[in-house]
């Protein structure tokens, strides 16, 4: 195995063009190194992008927030550019592994590994993020929601890499909520997670809602049926109850035949509700929603 540390994005793309699928991208290495040790991966070449400045950091351009793919979870959870209405994204970044893993692991890796349990993917889906994919001499954009093809499989060419993730910054009456259910309070792989993007009017009527789930499908995904049901409704107890039973049916149907179907379809209701309420409190400008 050969390790190459390119000095610029241009060089990375050059090497990726040369080696194609023989080259694996390494940034934090929190997944790849484990796979290599287990013998699940044995790439000819690893391309280290962890110090490529063009791929790191978070910036604001016009109405977009734009995150480099090699930005660590720690950087996301501490970024002052991400305002408090985006708390759900920070919460998700903070819920990844341990401080050591958050210092190494990157959002680009979280997306490209396409794990169903990837923590930052549901909030990025709820934000309707756009991915910037680059190959030598060409650049294209694709919606995150269209990026996942199957468990561990994404729409990424053999000479292509993910360079940036962008989404529209939130307005005052918008909020992003997140809730994750793990087997413990830290260092826990998600068993179930929800992210909710919400825009409401003064009457608490839902103008826009985007809901994304984690760990209850082959990859993190949008819950369109639930979004459709909730759009235009006023948030109150009846709406919530209806939405919850709809969600329970959807999840049970999706996981049918699996041991976890019953537990997950019931727990999903509670997790979704917490994510929705987190988003609602952010829309309303309430500082802190007491999670516990």
């Amino acid at each position: 195995m050969e390790a190459i540390k390119p000095k610029s994005l241009e060089e990375v793309l050059e090497y990726k063009y040369k080696y194609k699928n023989d080259a694996k991208i390494i940034a934090g290495g929190t997944d790849l190194i484990i796979k290599i040790r287990k013998g699940e991966e044995n790439p000819k070449v690893i391309l280290d992008i962890s110090t490529i400045q063009e791929l790191k950091g978070i910036r604001e351009t016009l109405e977009y927030i734009d995150i480099g793919s090699a930005t660590t979870f720690t950087k996301i959870s501490e970024c002052i550019l991400l305002n408090k209405n985006l708390k759900g994204l920070k919460d998700a970044a903070k819920s990844v592994g341990s401080p050591q893993i958050r210092n190494r692991g990157t959002v680009g890796g979280n997306i490209c590994n396409a794990s169903p349990a990837a923590d930052t993917v549901p909030p990025l889906l709820a934000l309707d993020s756009i991915l910037v994919l680059e190959r030598k001499g060409r650049k294209r954009e694709v919606y995150l929601k269209d990026f996942f093809k199957d468990k561990g499989r994404v729409d990424l060419g053999e000479d292509e890499i993910l360079t940036r993730i962008k989404f529209k910054n939130l307005l005052k009456n918008q909020g992003l909520g997140f809730y994750k259910l793990g087997l413990r309070r830290a260092l826990a792989i998600s068993r179930l997670s929800f992210a909710v993007f919400l825009e409401i009017d003064e009457m608490n009527r839902i103008e826009i809602i985007r809901i994304a789930s984690g760990a209850i499908g082959r990859f993190p995904m949008r819950e369109y049926e639930l979004e459709e049901y909730l759009t235009g409704r006023i948030i109150n107890e009846d709406t919530l109850k209806e939405a919850e039973s709809l969600l329970e049916r959807i999840i049970f149907e999706r996981l049918k035949g699996r041991q976890t179907a019953k537990f997950k379809s019931i727990a999903a209701k509670g997790v979704f509700k917490k994510a929705l309420l987190n988003a609602l409190y952010l829309c309303k400008g309430v500082n802190e929603f007491e999670k516990n």
């Binding site: 259910l181 087997l183 413990r184 309070r185 830290a186 260092l187 826990a188 792989i189 537990f263 727990a267 209701k269 509670g270 997790v271 509700k273 917490k274 516990n292």
Partner: protein
């Protein structure tokens, strides 16, 4: 919805191997030429504090400060057998062996002091801060260093055998001699919508006899509590047809510090 519940439980726990199993700890104490005392003991430090406690016991027995004790432990080529670091036996069993070794060494040191001080008996001699005094005449003294220079071969052994008897064929009897009595109370909150369980608070009361080092005892309570939480709420090796399905720490979950509440601790030191 969140529901709360409280629970309390009491146990007693026998220290040492018990049930008539030979339970012997050995220790050596030796006067070094600089007046410090070397303790050799097989006791293994596994985080319980054996290294600290053995030094404390030796220092107190000999009237020295902990800086004057040199501990050699764990190295089986140099130290006598002190049994396993298991069954909560090291502080009590091996601690007693260290104490006996130090008492034996003390007698030998005092025998030497009698000669050097020109007094007629050990009675009334007192070791403090590395000096041996005549109690009623403190300016009449000799240091441990002088004694070591005079006699390079001062050493002693301590053997402690724990009291233990075998139970009868019906499992009846008194298999242990020392016991620890403990009680624990917790308040727990369950989120009925997500299944999340949170321990809100916990209190532990332990009758430990004499706490040789109270901070270490509290540390053991913290660790023991966390292990209990793991057993009760998380740990599952997931045995399926004889194979573990949760065969790594990625899947076999134990609590982290964030899963453990502040634990209120009470030590009862009796007698």
């Amino acid at each position: 919805m969140k529901k709360r519940g409280k629970g309390i439980a009491c146990i007693f726990y026998g220290t040492g191997y018990g049930n008539g199993f030979p339970d012997v700890s050995r220790a050596y104490a030796r006067l070094l030429k600089d007046g410090k005392v070397e303790i050799s003991v097989g006791a293994t430090e596994v985080g319980q504090g054996a290294k600290t406690v053995m030094v404390q016991i030796a220092a107190e027995t000999l009237g020295l400060s902990d800086k004057d004790i040199v501990l050699i432990n764990e190295d089986t080529s140099k130290t006598p057998d002190a049994g396993t670091a298991a069954a909560s036996r090291q502080t009590y069993n091996t601690g007693n062996a260290v104490k006996i070794a130090c008492e034996n060494l003390r007698e030998k040191i005092l025998d030497e002091a009698v000669k050097l001080l020109g007094v007629n008996t050990k009675v009334g001699l007192h070791i403090k801060d590395g000096l041996i005094h005549v109690k009623s005449y403190p300016s009449r003294n000799v240091s441990l260093k002088e004694i070591a220079e005079n006699n390079k071969e001062l050493k002693a052994e301590g053997i402690f055998t724990a009291q233990t008897t075998q139970m009868d064929e019906n499992g009846q009897g008194a298999p242990y001699w020392p016991y620890t009595f403990a009680s624990c109370a917790v308040e727990v909150e369950v989120d009925t919508e997500t299944g999340e369980v949170k321990i809100l608070r916990a209190k532990h009361v332990l009758d430990v006899g004499r706490a040789v080092n109270p901070t270490l005892v509290e540390g053991q309570i913290d660790g023991g509590f966390a292990m209990g939480v793991g057993y009760a709420l998380m740990e599952d090796i997931g045995l399926k047809e004889g194979r573990m399905t949760n065969g790594s720490f990625e899947k076999s979950i134990i609590p982290t510090s964030l899963d453990i509440p502040e634990i209120e601790k009470v030590l009862i030191e009796y007698p």
